[in-house]
């Protein structure tokens, strides 16, 4: 405890409580979200708090939503079910000629240069290893960060449930642009995983094809792309963030 008598957030269990309560902001929030994704014990503590504090929510009032809400839910669930049956057109393809090491290196920042080197020499990857908790398990995590721009993305993939979870910070794009997530299989070409939010938590189910690509040793990367609502064939430079997936 510090001199001012404030219990410091050094106790991760209390930090988990602060995250569950929703009071954290800025870099504290980003750090806690990253911990939630890469530290199983911390994630469990957040769940503990959510369940305990959630009981308070039962005293909240209720309201009557419009009928259109249910119609919207049905339409979106229909769309989801339909999407599950559509094959990813890009899956399994090799890289287009445009994705060469020479073109990629020109004008890139450190993260992207590291990524390109990683692609060319995967056995001696200069990409910083993800800072992961030492809890054994079969989940995959990658921590992508750039101290200069304060952009960060922590990702966790649960192969059992086939879910991708992201904690995103500082990826604000210009009007008409959106952050897009890519997976680069070891020695392969980038394949889009679609647009992601600029900030906050995000999760979605992975298709079978996507899950097959998201394995230890593959690299995740983020670029800004035109917000067309569709996945792009090739990434637009610069690569904003890049990092390798590792098992925890």
């Amino acid at each position: 405890m510090a001199d001012d008598g404030i219990p410091q957030a050094e106790d991760p269990f209390l930090t988990a409580g602060e995250l569950a309560l929703g009071v954290l902001e800025g870099s504290d929030l980003a750090a806690a979200r990253r911990s939630q994704l890469v530290d199983a014990a911390f994630a469990e503590a957040v769940e503990w708090w959510e369940t305990r504090l959630g009981a308070m929510g039962e005293a909240a009032g209720s309201g009557v939503p419009s009928d259109t809400v249910w119609q919207g839910v049905e339409a979106r669930v229909d769309a989801l079910d339909g999407a599950d049956n559509v094959e990813l057109p890009m899956t399994g393809r090799r890289g287009p000629a445009g994705w060469s090491i020479v073109t990629a290196i020109v004008g890139l920042g450190a993260a992207a240069a590291a990524l390109v080197l990683f692609l060319s020499t995967p056995a001696t990857s200069p990409v910083a290893p993800p800072q992961i908790a030492s809890t054994p398990g079969d989940q995959l995590v990658a921590q992508l960060g750039d101290d200069e721009t304060n952009r960060s993305l922590a990702s966790r993939i649960d192969p059992d449930s086939g879910e991708l979870r992201l904690a995103i910070s500082g990826l604000q794009a210009d009007t008409g642009k959106t952050p897009e997530l890519w997976v680069i299989p070891a020695g392969g070409a980038p394949i889009s995983l679609g647009a992601i939010p600029e900030e906050g938590d995000f999760s979605r189910d992975l298709s079978t094809e996507e899950s097959a690509l998201l394995v230890a040793g593959a690299t995740l990367a983020v670029t800004f792309e035109d917000d067309t609502g569709e996945r792009h064939e090739t990434p637009t430079m610069p690569i904003l963030l890049a990092g390798a997936l590792a098992e925890v």
Binding site: G22, A55, V64, W70
Partner: protein, 183 residues
Amino acid sequence: MSEGREALSGAIAGVAGGDRAALKTVYRLTSAKLFGTIIRIVPERERAEDILQDVYVKVWRRAGRFDGSKGSPITWLCTIARNTALNELRRDGRKVEPPADTLPEVEDSDALPADEWLCAMEESQALARCLQELSGDQRRSIRLAFFEGYSYSELAKKVDVPLGTMKSWVRRGLAGLKGCLGG
């Protein structure tokens, strides 16, 4: 387990199995409650309804992850609703301030919820008892953060105390709850 809670758990299990009718049952049983949770945090009807939609799409995808041994089904649903609303708030900001008179509503209200049949009464009562053991400032700050979705700096501004004081109240309150609830 109450009849309502059992029905809701059963419906969530149905959703996990891909049963669309079960999703409608979950919606019918809980949409008013979840809408109430969301609109406290995002007090704009249209925006709150969009979030409510997001929540049930998440429920459709995640129902298989509900574990009845860890908590009640309504708490699980309320947590998804609350987190989705908080994410929306953090992303797009608070466009409309909740009316100032909402403060007393969340203060120390021990009134039983109207849809009591849904609730995990044991958990609610344990939490209510532990909250009562906190100081008034700690209790009110935690309630205000929970119900209105305020961050530390928003709470400090709302209650008009220094940020450090607010952090102290909340952290001490959480530490008290941790001890009381056996964390």
